[in-house]
Symmetry: C2
Subunit: 194 residues, 2 copies
DNA sequence: ACGATACCAGACAGATCTGTCTACTCTCGT
DNA sequence: ACGAGAGTAGACAGATCTGTCTGGTATCGT
């Protein structure tokens, strides 16, 4: 067993390549517009491998969104590490979002985008609900640490700001929405801790 | 020329029935998932009529979104008529949104949903841009009437709130997002006119 | 060396999609 | 009365989609 096989496998598994290809294509172009053939072509994988690994396109979509969920978690948590003051950590959420929105491939919230295409009730809604619940939980925690008198109320407000900034960043490019949201958060944070 | 033909034509034109069917189906289920056949079936119209009237599905989509643009305009303007105080008119935006979000068929912003499905650059983006520009113009006007020191800055904030409330109302049903946004708007309005 | 496992290439089936075309009917304005 | 315009029903073409299946190849643990 070589060291390379532990740290840098020459070739990622079919599953990983599939997931990477699905992430790029689904996020950039939408789920319905991207066919299975495009995914396997980009991944360099046989169609049979996709179906033996995931079973269906729906399950591939679920895995794609679960990966996005993980991505949001790590990005937010890592991005917030640089702030120490609890108030700065609240506002830092919008700075992280602002940086993300400035990257070339940004196309808004993957979960909202997926929800906009599909019928409700499927895997998409499940993962979206889970992600929104996690995000709200983070906001409650940050609000509490910042000394909000009603952390849940402030978390609701931060959720509105986060969603609004995300929409603005997607629809009006370039957009100042994340910075605007940050300033709004500051005002509301002051009001919530007064 | 009978009076009926002016006010209550026995049967709406093929174009109108097509538009009504497209609006219901596209908004409820998304654009890509709904095929032409479903639209003409619901409209009770021949396929040839669709293509002779609109030319392509893309143009039907544009017409659908233009109808949605008109709908937003009239709903907002009508809904705001009941308020006299300029400050109430600003907050009234969120009350109108709240009422709309409570209706059964609510599925969020038609323009954002359409943008989430399609590739950028097409008719969808054009109409979306126009609608967002109109909406922002309305917010600037309301902000100015309410005595905001910087109406454009307040309009940017209101836009974030409006988008965020709309997302929340779609993703977390039932959602308090519109009411939360209204309260936030009140705080920000106070700060902007102090 | 060898069998299991993972993977690849691509044909194929069956459904569905957009868009075209033919041929018939109905309703008006003149 | 009659021709034009608008609409209807539905077959059809060609592309594309998901999902299945066959058959071959490479890698790896034992």
């Amino acid at each position: 067993m070589s060291a390379a096989s532990l740290t840098t496998p020459r070739k990622p598994s079919a599953r990983d390549r599939l997931l990477a290809a699905a992430d790029e294509l689904f996020y950039a172009e939408g789920i319905h517009t991207v066919g299975i053939d495009r995914v396997i072509e980009r991944a360099g994988v046989a169609k049979a491998s996709l179906y033996s690994t995931f079973g269906s396109k729906d399950e591939l979509v679920r895995a794609y969104l679960e990966g996005r969920h993980e991505l949001r978690r790590t990005r937010l948590l890592k991005g917030l590490e640089r702030y120490e003051d609890p108030r700065d950590r609240v506002l830092g959420v919008f700075e992280v979002l602002d940086e993300l929105a400035g990257t070339p491939g940004f196309r808004g919230c993957a979960f909202y985008n997926a929800s906009a295409e599909g019928t409700p009730g499927g895997p998409v809604q499940e993962v979206s609900d889970a992600t929104r619940a996690w995000t709200r939980g983070l906001f409650v925690e940050l609000a509490r640490d910042a000394g909000a008198k009603d952390p849940h109320a402030l978390a609701d407000q931060l959720t509105v700001l986060y969603d609004g900034a995300s929409v603005g960043a997607k629809m009006d490019r370039p957009s100042m929405a994340p910075q605007v949201a940050r300033d709004m958060a500051e005002i509301l944070l002051n009001a919530a801790t007064a």
